[in-house]
């Protein structure tokens, strides 16, 4: 686990911060245009995780976190987390879909999005020529790709 943590830090450090060409405003616009089914309000946190190139296709990955404040909540606050997938074209970002996740990802390395989970239950989302995988396992839990 110690080795894993050190490596995790290295992965984060190796990732560029927000590429100048992808900003939160563009992400918000792309989500609105792409019929995103989640909420886009003041409780949303958006963070670019990184970009992946597979062949001629370029993807941008972002973390979406929505969490109610206690004042707004009925009973306990609820929260949801997603890994957003966009295709990057010359015209801008196009929202492809997302995965419901339990924790924010660490970053991107090559063609993989990496999570801080043990490897045995799955800790990566690997993109190939077919695009984002329709289903995957993260920390032993099954996840689907959807809007």
């Amino acid at each position: 686990m110690f080795v894993f943590s050190i490596f995790s830090v290295a992965v984060i450090a190796s990732q560029p911060s927000w590429p100048a060409s992808v900003g939160t405003t563009k992400i918000w616009h792309a989500l609105r245009a792409g019929h995103f089914t989640g909420v886009l309000d003041h409780d949303v946190k958006l963070r670019l995780v990184g970009t992946i190139s597979v062949g001629k296709t370029r993807y941008a990955l972002a973390y979406y976190g929505w969490e109610q404040t206690e004042r707004e909540a009925i009973g306990y606050p609820h929260a949801t987390h997603r890994l957003l997938v966009f295709e990057k074209t010359d015209k801008g970002l196009s929202y492809l879909g997302s995965y419901d996740i339990n924790d924010p990802p660490l970053g991107v390395k090559n063609n993989r999005v990496i999570f801080d989970y043990p490897a045995d239950g799955g800790n990566t989302v690997t993109f190939d020529e077919k695009g984002p995988p329709p289903t995957l396992s993260l920390d032993g839990q099954y996840h689907e790709f959807g809007k």
Binding site: E72, I74, G75, Y76, H78, D100, E144, G146
Partner: protein
């Protein structure tokens, strides 16, 4: 680099790893329980004392002492005019009984209106999955009612309690997987307590299962909620269930 590759461990080693991770992850549950016990031990402090509901002046604050159980005088706020269909009290065939601190007599009678729905949902869920009472995934009506009370049982949340008591289809935290896993149709699906209970149980089972192993109700509830205080949420549901309906509740 190699640490990210799938580790091909023998099944017994993998199972032991899963159990160990569950035990480590359950630590916050016991810490939360200890914290609750300490709070309860404080002179004059009742952790179950109701709070002023969200949206009211002073929302989130404790109600005045002695004003518990939904009968407290809340800060004066102008309530919107009641619109839509009034809910008529149903005839309850299988009363579950009250969850402490959530009275269900007089004007709080609505808290027992879902009792039959909870009982039916629990029975159908157990039967469909062949869960016996000794199975950790087995759910009882008492657990269902306690869970619903923690989710939407405060006096300000009556409307939610009578439509989506488990808040499984809160449009704000909608995710597409709820279609295939929880059987919902979309974030704006009209909800009833029966739809809510059935979907919530499926979603809870999904959230609690990793690598094909059920991680326990505490872990399932934590990921069902997902917020920063998910450990407290899970602990409260579990403690209230045990206190009101016993360890098998």
């Amino acid at each position: 680099m190699a640490s990210f590759e799938i580790f091909d461990a023998p099944p017994e080693v993998a199972a032991a790893q899963v159990r160990l991770r569950a035990e480590i992850a359950a630590q916050p549950f016991w810490l939360a329980g200890a914290k609750l016990a300490l709070l309860a031990a404080k002179d004059g402090f009742n952790p179950a004392q109701p709070r002023v509901p969200a949206g009211c002046t002073g929302g989130g604050q404790w109600c005045p002492a002695g004003g518990g159980g939904g009968t407290a005088k809340l800060p004066q706020t102008k309530r919107p005019k009641r619109t839509g269909t009034r809910h008529e009290p149903p005839k309850i065939l299988h009363p579950i009984g009250p969850v402490g601190d959530f009275p269900e007599t007089g004007k709080n009678d609505w808290r027992r209106w879902n009792d039959d729905v909870f009982t039916n949902a629990a029975n159908e869920f157990n039967a469909a999955n062949e869960f016996s009472p000794s199975d950790p995934r087995y759910v009882s009506p008492g657990f269902m009612k306690t869970w619903a009370m923690v989710e939407s049982g405060s006096s300000a949340d009556r409307k939610v309690f009578l439509t989506d008591p488990f808040q499984v289809n809160n449009p704000q935290d909608w995710v597409p997987a709820k279609v295939t896993i929880a059987g919902l149709t979309g974030p704006h699906q009209p909800m009833t307590p029966a739809i809510s209970a059935t979907a919530a149980l499926k979603w809870l089972l999904y959230k609690g299962t990793k690598q094909g192993t059920y991680m326990g109700r505490y872990m399932a509830l934590r990921d069902y909620n997902g917020s920063k205080i998910k450990s407290y949420y899970a602990a409260e549901v579990m403690f209230r269930t045990i206190i009101n309906f016993g360890v098998h509740g």
